[in-house]
């Protein structure tokens, strides 16, 4: 039986080796060129490391940071401090503590220390910043960039102020820059393909759905921010050891725009995009600069510096990319996922894994007793009372139907149960433990799964990845998460096409994938918000069969919000009817359907009168 996996070994190898090959070519070209060309290539490789650092955070989180160059600044100054000869340090940076000024380290230890300090700084800065919203992060990271700039530009006795530092030992060669760039590619891909990387990508695709499967958005962002800080610090340290000079503007606004352009033009979602973007823009930059300077092509340049015409050109390229090709040159794909490569047969997508049901059971433990219980839930939006003293009990392995006309408060109740909304009063308890007000991701860990009316699987991840991320959200290893996902997909008969991007599947499949994703967290209670909406009749029948299997196989309690009584009837042993925020009836499906009050709430009293007449 073939093992289920996200991608074939060939595809993974191609994704890793092609960027490394590009870097190797750049190194070979540089090593055999003139000294000034060699400098140019070295600079480009330093840039590349910073861009990969940017990709780790921006690409995986989908949140832009304008502050990463601040970490390059930090890395560069630390590396400079550690390597300046003591006599020169005394002149330029009299305010430095002696043990740093006297240190005269080699290239490798100073780069490593610079990387560690930049990473640490990123974690410290990220702690408050990652708490804020997707739109506040770009702005507050930009504020951080200004703060760093302001500090290094004015702390004259330590940083040399605006005049900067000179005579820093130039130890970075094209080979060492190439090695570091290769290491950056490996690190970035390893992170992207780790459980943590997948969790972060899930938040990029759909933040709300990611929280519903137990992913702590802030935590995942913070980790990537830290790794990004490390890589940017390395890039900064190497760059300063290439040029031998450093000033506060080296990694400031201009460099921020340049590196951002490289990332966006290449395609932020893939490491491959970061690499080809950095190389392509560097080439264009050199050409533009050549035009500007007349003849002197490939003169030595410092990182990020792109005055005048060249900068206009870069700006236009960035603008055109955003308008015409938002996914960049790579289309957001890794090298091994490129369609033409797959056509060549070099890296087929992972084979359909039909029949490869894994040995593992979903992660959660089977419930013994207890229940999901809501008592006296009330909630008002701007004075409008949406829920009025609603009680609800869902036993393990029970299917409870929740029906009611539009606006009855069904979805709001599910939002309260799953932690997306805090009730004004009332309590929610899970197997006897009061969980009122707990966050959605905490509740997912407590064993509560849910689906959304609108939320579909993460469109840019494959079906297998989308579902596996659910198990990863529970903190299991990547390997085990894949096994869980394969198991769940097998039971729902979804293994076919599971390696295609989820966004390309037909709506019925996607909806089932949404259910599979919630099941992958191993929930003891599963809340399904109108799972049949938009499905055709055949798909509805399939859904009923699948939900039956879920009840018997997974043993979790199911709360089913549904309008279609053809789905509620065969599945649910009890039905609760909400109308205008109040429970008007609880009973068997037959009892509820026969209740005049229920019929009235759905169809209106005039209809009843007409029927009676």
């Amino acid at each position: 039986m073939s093992r289920v996996r996200f991608r074939t070994p060939q595809s993974a190898a191609a994704s890793l080796l092609i960027p490394l090959l590009l870097i190797t070519i750049a190194v070979l070209l540089g090593a055999n060129g003139t000294p000034s060309f060699q400098d140019t290539v070295t600079t480009i490789l330093c840039n590349l490391i910073v861009v990969i650092g940017l990709q780790v955070f921006v690409g995986n989180s989908g949140v832009y940071s304008f502050g990463q160059l601040g970490f390059a600044t930090a890395g560069a100054y630390v590396a400079a401090f550690l390597t300046l000869p003591a006599a020169i340090a005394l002149l330029q940076t009299p305010g430095l503590p002696h043990f740093i000024a006297d240190a005269h380290l080699g290239a490798l230890p100073s780069t490593l220390i610079a990387a560690a300090i930049s990473g640490l700084l990123a974690i410290v800065i990220g702690l408050p910043l990652m708490r804020t919203s997707t739109l506040a992060i770009p702005i507050s990271t930009f504020a951080f960039l200004i703060v760093i700039y302001n500090v290094v530009a004015n702390w004259d006795r330590v940083t040399g102020g605006n005049s900067g530092l000179i005579s820093i030992p130039a130890t970075t060669g094209v080979e060492s820059a190439g090695l570091w760039a290769g290491a950056a590619v490996v690190l970035a891909l390893a992170y992207k393909w780790s459980a943590s990387g997948y969790r972060l990508q899930a938040t990029r695709e759909d933040e709300v759905a990611a929280r519903s499967i137990g992913i702590g958005v802030m935590r995942e962002r913070l980790l990537a921010f830290g790794i990004s800080g490390v890589l940017c610090g390395v890039g900064g340290a190497l760059a300063v050891h290439q040029s031998g000079v450093l000033s506060p503007v080296t990694f400031y606004f201009g460099a921020t725009v340049t590196t951002m352009t490289m990332l966006v033009v290449g395609g932020a979602r893939s490491v491959f995009g970061a690499v080809i973007g950095a190389l392509a823009i560097a080439a264009v930059n050199e050409l533009l600069r050549g035009v500007e300077n007349g003849a002197s092509l490939f003169g030595a340049v410092s990182i990020g510096e792109a005055p005048g015409l060249a900068a206009i050109g870069l700006g236009l390229i960035l603008l055109a990319t955003m308008i015409a090709m938002p996914n960049g040159l790579s289309g957001g794909r890794e090298a091994g996922e490129l369609p033409w490569l797959q056509r060549l047969g070099l890296s087929a997508p992972a084979p359909p894994a039909a029949g490869a049901v894994a040995e593992s059971r979903p992660v959660g433990e089977r419930p013994t007793d207890g229940a999901l219980r809501a008592e006296g839930i009330s909630l008002a939006f701007a004075g409008l009372r949406v829920l009025k003293q609603v009680d609800l009990t869902l036993a393990p392995a029970e299917a409870l139907g929740l029906i009611g006309p539009n606006g009855a408060g069904k979805t709001t109740l599910v939002n309260v149960l799953s932690g997306f909304q805090s009730p004004d009063s009332g309590t929610v308890s899970l197997d006897g433990v009061d969980v009122t007000g707990r966050s959605p991701n905490r509740l997912a860990h407590d064993g509560l799964g849910r689906t959304f009316q609108a939320a579909l699987p993460f469109p840019d991840l494959s079906g297998l990845e989308s579902v596996a991320v659910g198990a990863m959200g529970m903190g299991v290893s990547r390997r085990r998460a894949v096994a869980v996902a394969a198991d769940v997909l097998g039971r729902l008969d979804l293994l076919e096409q599971a390696t295609l991007p989820a966004g390309t599947l037909p709506p019925g499949r996607r909806r089932l994938l949404g259910i599979a994703r919630a099941l992958a967290i191993g929930p003891r209670y599963l809340l399904l918000d109108e799972p049949a909406a938009g499905l055709n009749e055949a798909e509805c029948e399939e859904l009923v069969a699948i939900l039956r299997n879920v009840l018997s196989d997974f043993g979790c309690g199911i709360l089913l919000i549904e309008h279609d009584m053809n789905i509620v009837m065969p599945l649910c042993s009890r039905v609760q009817v909400l109308d205008d925020g109040e429970t008007i009836r609880i009973g068997t499906p037959q009892e509820v359907q026969a209740d005049p009050a229920v019929v009235e709430s759905y169809l209106g009293s005039s209809f009843l009168a007409a029927v009676d007449a």
Partner: protein, 294 residues
């Protein structure tokens, strides 16, 4: 006591300037959902109109600056921002960053990277005494213009059909469109007003500093962004409060910081929003960003 009064008026004046910047950014944000990085370059280009038309009487040059601000805002909207209107927040932000970089460097190439000095009316740099307090005339102008702009915006938004359409679009853009609000027109108007506000700010900055430079918009736009974040996204009132707070903080720090720390004023000012965000992740007036759906 006099010193305190003096400092407070200075603080209020700088806060007003910042509030005008934040308002221009918020206005576009509310109708289009885009944080416009290029707002700083709108300010810069309007300021350059004063430099280019330095031979005209100052009043006429100010008129040119206003027109320049409005024109560049409309142009940027049509060429760059309309195509990405439906892209996500981050993509729009990066697009506006590209526009900012282009405008900044066009001016660098066309004029010069270095700052250029601009003659300003002498009366502006004089002061008027109120009791024991000497108030620079520029601060009167700043406060007066801010008051006029706020009143004008209030009238426009709450007393005219156009304002109603803009508020509806800010509330729910799709719904407003379905009800017959013309999206292109509303957004264009928002950009035009934003450009005019940028021009007012540009003129005030030139009056204060007496010079223009290609990068002069960078600090203002950041100040505006931070003020918007502090105030809570998409709220006019929040933008004004955020701007006033930030300006007052910056101004008072300039006076009361000990000498050793004085160079780090900007660093302290820009750390302040982070402190606010630690305790109020969605800003002082708590916008709805990040919890829109469900």
């Amino acid at each position: 006591m006099t010193a305190l009064g003096q400092n407070l008026i200075d603080a209020l004046a700088l806060g007003s300037l910042y509030a005008l910047i934040a308002l221009g950014i918020t206005l576009v944000y509310t109708v289009m959902g885009m944080m416009n990085f290029a707002h700083g370059e709108f300010i810069m280009l309007a300021a350059y109109a004063l430099f280019v038309f330095a031979d005209l009487p100052f009043g006429a040059a100010v008129g040119c600056a206003l027109l320049a601000g409005i024109a560049i805002a409309l142009l940027a909207e049509r060429v760059a921002f309309r195509p990405v209107r439906n892209a996500d927040l981050s993509a729009q932000l990066v697009t506006s960053l590209a526009v900012a970089a282009i405008l900044q460097n066009v001016v660098t190439v066309a004029v010069d990277a270095r700052a250029q000095s601009v003659e300003t009316p002498a009366a502006i740099s004089e002061s008027t005494s109120i009791g024991a307090i000497m108030v620079p005339n520029l601060e009167f102008v700043t406060l007066g213009l801010t008051a006029i702009v706020l009143a004008g915006l209030g009238w426009l938004l709450y007393r005219t059909r156009t304002g109603l359409a803009m508020r509806a679009a800010a509330e729910n853009f799709e719904m407003a469109r379905l009800l017959g609000v013309r999206a292109n027109r509303v957004i264009a108007i928002a950009f035009a007003i934003s450009g005019a506000l940028a021009a007012v700010v540009g003129v005030l900055i030139v009056l204060q500093s007496g010079q223009v430079s290609p990068t002069m918009g960078l600090t203002p736009v950041l100040v505006g962004f931070v003020a918007v974040v502090i105030g809570g996204f998409g709220r006019m009132f929040g933008a004004v409060i955020g701007g006033l707070l930030l300006g007052a903080l910056s101004s008072l720090l300039g006076v009361y910081l000990p000498d050793g720390l004085a160079p780090f004023r900007d660093a302290i000012v820009f750390t302040f929003p982070v402190l606010i965000l630690i305790f109020r992740p969605h800003g002082l007036l708590g916008g709805e960003i990040g919890r829109a759906r469900v």
